[in-house]
């Protein structure tokens, strides 16, 4: 369509109605049943985002890296006598049973010999000696990390008076099945230990450094 001539900047020579008639949109509308034909929305038009960020930055993705299972020191094998270096049983010599899924070491005194129950211990707080105990008769299959989970305390509703009294905590008694498990694990172990002379007294004694000991030169 030829452009309408202008009288001056922004002032057109023909009127609105005149240009409408001239453009012939009325004829197109009549052809298409009264409405101006609309072009179909193409997928490209629909999909094109209306906002483009200023920089091309890759979106951060959550890491799919899985942590490796804890490596067990080659000097620690089932039946090894370990020396505990920290905690309540510091210095106690203890028998290693197996490594749990969490990476912690499952360990027992045996309880009757040195008072260390079936317990979990971190590899970092342990010296592995080269003394091994025969552990073939011991079954530790059913002991895992869940065995050591804490019991969830049930919160009883307290009245105002009771709140200010010193809280009477229920004395945590060891459940019977844990005592039974301890006895079962230790029975075979103690027999194996008593077969070796002096091993029982060795496990009952605590380790300590004396004058003149050079731990970096000592063979464990």
């Amino acid at each position: 369509m030829a452009p309408t001539s202008k009288l001056s900047q922004g002032i057109k020579k023909a009127s609105r109605s005149h240009t409408y008639h001239r453009r012939g949109l009325w004829a197109i509308k009549a052809k298409h049943g009264g409405a101006f034909p609309k072009a179909e929305k193409t997928d490209a038009a629909a999909a094109a985002p209306k906002f483009y960020p200023a920089d091309d930055v890759k979106p951060r993705q959550p890491s799919t890296r899985k942590p490796n299972p804890t490596k067990l020191r080659s000097s620690i094998t089932p039946g090894t006598v370990l020396i505990l270096l920290a905690g309540r049983f510091m210095g106690k010599r203890v028998v290693f049973l197996k490594q749990l899924k969490s990476g912690l070491l499952l360990v027992t005194g045996p309880f009757k010999i040195n008072g260390v129950p079936i317990r979990r211990v971190n590899q970092a707080y342990v010296i592995a000696t080269s003394t091994k105990v025969d552990i073939s008769g011991v079954d530790v299959e059913k002991i895992n990390d869940k065995y050591f989970a804490r019991d969830k305390k049930k919160k009883a509703k307290k009245t105002e008076g009771e709140l200010f009294e010193t809280e009477k905590e229920a004395t945590k008694d060891l459940p019977e099945f844990k005592k039974e498990d301890q006895k079962a694990v230790d029975a075979a172990l103690i027999k194996a230990i008593e077969a070796v002379p002096d091993l029982k007294t060795y496990l009952g004694a605590r380790f300590s450094l004396r004058d003149g000991d050079k731990p970096h030169e000592m063979v464990f």
Binding site: T129, T131, D198, L199, T201, Y202, E217, M218, V219
Partner: protein, 134 residues
């Protein structure tokens, strides 16, 4: 007192410094004022400074720089190994090595044995004292 142990071809010495620390070697040649050529049945012949050697009483009969097999035969003829292990110096070294290689359990057993020995000694002493007092 005059010197008794000389640097000479055939002198058995102990290496007291360096990579071969603690090894018994034989002086097979003298390089110069400071160094000797040493050899042992289980090592490559090499030169070493005299300062790194401690001379022993043992001497074997060899010519200058013998072949390895000749050296080994000469050492066996002189019975160096047994002479060394029966000498007090050699015995001390063996005990030192044994003590250093003791396990934690071994050290515990040694402690029990020393206590037992001490107890036995004290008992005997008490008996003797009783006899002397009477």
């Amino acid at each position: 007192m005059p010197f008794k142990r000389f640097v000479e071809i055939g002198r058995v010495a102990l290496v007291n410094y360096g990579k071969d620390y603690g090894r018994l070697v034989v002086i097979v040649d003298v390089v110069d004022q400071n160094r000797a050529l040493i050899d042992a049945p289980d090592m490559v012949r090499c030169q070493i400074n005299f300062k790194r050697l401690s001379l022993t009483d043992i001497k074997i009969d060899i010519k200058r720089v013998p072949k390895k097999t000749t050296l080994i035969k000469a050492m066996e003829d002189a019975d160096v190994k047994n002479k060394w292990e029966n000498s007090s110096w050699g015995k001390k070294l063996i005990v030192q090595k044994r003590r250093a290689s003791l396990n934690d359990f071994d050290r515990f057993k040694v402690m029990l044995a020393r206590i037992k020995r001490g107890g036995a000694i004290r008992q005997e002493l008490a008996k003797l004292k009783k006899v002397a007092a009477a």
